[in-house]
Point group: C2
Chain length 472, copies 2
């Protein structure tokens, strides 16, 4: 455990002497909870600076007093990176007041926003400028830009537009010594030194506090198309992905694998969405296209279906003929997590695999899970990215509570197999406090040693988000 000091009354007084009163807010329970209820925060001093200079002041004082800092965005992270449950009370440094759009440059396809801007507000600002900010997540109505940067968030459009790291051109950040890095460049090419931008992105607040970012925008696709194709198998889905890539080129913005268990769960839990294909196929693929004004997404999808039918990859399909049909297909995809929640998972896994290993993984993982007991499996997700949500449920009529003591065994079985097959035990959610042990177990030793050296070099006192990523 670290030898940090608590953010006590004396420390609060120190900060109050240097910061406007508006920066101090009540520590309501919302700041001490996270979406899945796995972590519960203890005491802490909530500070919401109004400017980068105020963030730097907090960091400098915390550095001087050896007080831990937990950077706080929208509170939507799933691995406990925003909650410190143990150790001396930290400063909870919320970016909620830093919500300025500092600039939007439609002709450059760039927006500069402060870290507290909510993701959906950034999407709306881009749309107002006739541009697309493509990062899209379930929690986009409350997640803040600083948090999605700190966790290198993924989402549904990674296949085409990349993870958050690829969407960021530059950062402004307060480093652990309280210095401010002014790196808000609007440049696509800039080879002038180490990639500090990429290092802070995904560091989950352990190397500094991101205060603003320069983000890439894109032209809004003029025409869209959506289809659901029944495929013979996950292997056929992969061949369909390759066929789509060569026929349609870069216009594919989503390629989602859906197992038959998803639509069956929708029926079982009485969620409103339904699969339009009858009978429900064992495997299907939801494809989304975003194309230029001169393109014809409907013709592209029809041509793809015909070629895939000839190649024996697909057996049935529907191409949305209206905005309503399109929304219906996406509703089915998006209600699957809700159906999962209603069933109640024994264990959920945000994993990625090399694309070509996915069919073998699904076979082997299925065998391994069945060997453990009478479980149901719902595997779905961003096939184009090799990212599966591989979730394991009780047999019909059983409750997840009956399996509480099996959870570690199930998860270990899945992660060991993922590791053996060259995959990742955390594709898009990160490490936080939840997966520190998994990282120590599955991480490369040379990389872990380099990470510890970098952490010690930039934050020798260990004040930045203590307990996240690396054990204290």
């Amino acid at each position: 455990m670290s030898d940090l000091n608590p953010a006590d009354a004396a420390f609060a007084d120190t900060l109050r002497a240097r910061m406007p009163e508006t920066a101090f807010r009540d520590l309501t329970p919302a700041y001490l909870e996270e979406p899945r209820g796995l972590f519960h925060g203890g005491e802490g001093l909530l500070v919401a600076p109004g400017s980068t200079e105020e963030v730097a002041e907090v960091v400098r004082q915390a550095q001087a007093a050896r007080v831990g800092i937990v950077p706080y965005g929208g509170g939507t992270g799933l691995v406990g990176g925003q909650i410190r449950a143990e150790g001396p009370a930290p400063v909870i440094l919320s970016l909620e007041r830093m919500t300025a759009m500092r600039g939007i440059y439609p002709e450059e396809n760039v927006a500069i926003a402060e870290a507290g801007v909510i993701l959906s507000a950034l999407q709306a600002a881009a749309e107002e400028a006739d541009r697309l900010f493509p990062l899209s997540l379930a929690s986009e109505g409350s997640a803040r830009l600083g948090g999605v940067l700190a966790t290198n968030a993924g989402g549904v459009n990674v296949l085409r537009y990349g993870n958050t790291r690829e969407l960021c051109l530059g950062l402004e950040a307060v480093l652990p010594d309280g210095s401010v890095w002014h790196g808000l460049k609007r440049l696509r090419k800039d080879n002038t030194g180490y990639d500090l931008r990429g290092l802070l992105i995904g560091a989950e607040g352990t190397l500094g506090v991101i205060t603003a970012a320069s983000m890439r925008l894109f032209p809004r696709p003029a025409r869209s198309g959506t289809a659901l194709f029944a495929v013979e198998s996950p292997a056929a889905a992969l061949k369909l992905l390759a066929l789509a890539g060569s026929r349609i080129g870069p216009g594919i913005s989503a390629f989602e694998l859906i197992s038959g268990q998803g639509p069956r769960f929708l029926e079982e839990t009485e969620c409103p969405a339904r699969c339009p294909l009858t009978p429900i196929p064992d495997w299907s693929v939801l494809i989304d296209l975003g194309m230029g004004a001169g393109d014809d997404p409907d013709a592209a999808l029809t041509g793809l279906f015909e070629a895939a039918l000839e190649a024996g990859l697909v057996s049935d399909g529907v191409i949305a003929q209206s905005e309503g049909q399109r929304a219906g297909l996406w509703q089915m995809r998006e209600e699957i997590p809700e159906a999962n929640r209603r069933i109640g998972a024994v264990s959920s896994h945000d994993i990625s695999l090399p694309l070509s290993e996915i069919p073998a993984f699904l076979d082997r993982a299925g065998d391994a899970v069945r060997a453990l007991g009478d479980f149901r499996i719902n595997a779905f997700g961003h096939l184009g990215d090799g990212n599966l949500h591989y979730n394991i449920f009780p047999a019909r009529g059983e409750s997840r509570d009956a399996y509480a003591d099996r959870r570690a065994e199930v998860a270990g079985t899945i992660y060991d197999l993922v590791d053996e097959m060259g995959g990742s035990f955390s594709a898009e959610h990160g490490i936080g406090r939840l997966k520190v042990g998994d990282l120590a177990r599955y991480g490369d030793p040379a990389k872990l040693a380099a990470m510890r050296a970098i952490k010690a070099a930039l934050d020798p006192a260990g004040i930045m988000n203590p307990g996240v990523m690396l054990a204290e």
Copy 2:
């Protein structure tokens, strides 16, 4: 200056006792020169390991003996990163024997190659698998993968496919302590720790030796199109870029700005290529499209031209109607650097700017250069990336030699203006040994301090490519 020891006879004996004789090669003059003749290497011990384990052995022995290491790829870098002219003789660690393609996964759009693979060989291997490896540079026939990674090389396809960093999914590298990081993942999403991949890419060999990489491939565009449009001004070129983005979407693979000075230099130096537009326009744009089988690039370019004509952005244009015409347009673009060499530049600048600042930069830089004397300016480059090659030449009939003492003044004028306008003094070539002073001058102080801390943490003895990026 560092307190490193020379790679002397005793050190050579130490290595010879541990490595096969095939790893030792004669240090021919080619290893001590670089393309522009700005740096000339002194003595050194040339070692060409045949495996990652042999690279690690060299690094461990150099670490133990405090001997500097200069990693050596194809020798094509333009900033002296591969040449140590001063200080104790280093080990020149050439990757030339590590040329294995370790695996190619067409269905995943991934290739794993060793660091010594020549860029054109990687392109060819991808093509053989019906895939595209899009990184394309003038020096691709001799540049090696490890070098383009270490320098985060750019090239003509960055607009669509990103810089080298964005093309890399994972690395294998020997870190300065001689440990091997096994990070050759084939994953699109993997949020398990700091981005060591992104940090080593662009670190120019100062944080370790890259020995192999997992690189992204892409579907080969089924149909291509190329056009040259005369534009009214650089501002009109930017509007045309936005129009093309919204009309054609992601199919634009190159968008090159050409000033009239380029084609005029082609005529003056009797290079074979010619501009097909008469009279030579003051500004023109070369556009390349790569699209799917169902698309029609010719129609897309025709539609773009008509819309741009209506908007008053273009005044003339030619759309290639054959592979021969297409090659001719690109030949004109690609012979401009040769014409520049024949004229002889006083000063050349690989700069980038925020896209919307480019017209104002060209105005202001032109005024500033004219105020310095009777120069000619050839500004051209990757407009879609904001990357200009801004090159300054003597008046007609004068020789560059007459301006040797003006070079620093000219370069300083340009770089000061670039810095003031939020640009970069090194868009794609990096820092090497040439621009260490520029980085110290124009770099952000907090970032520089973080860079020094990271360097000291990972390479405390300073053996990795001493003198590159940061002063010894």
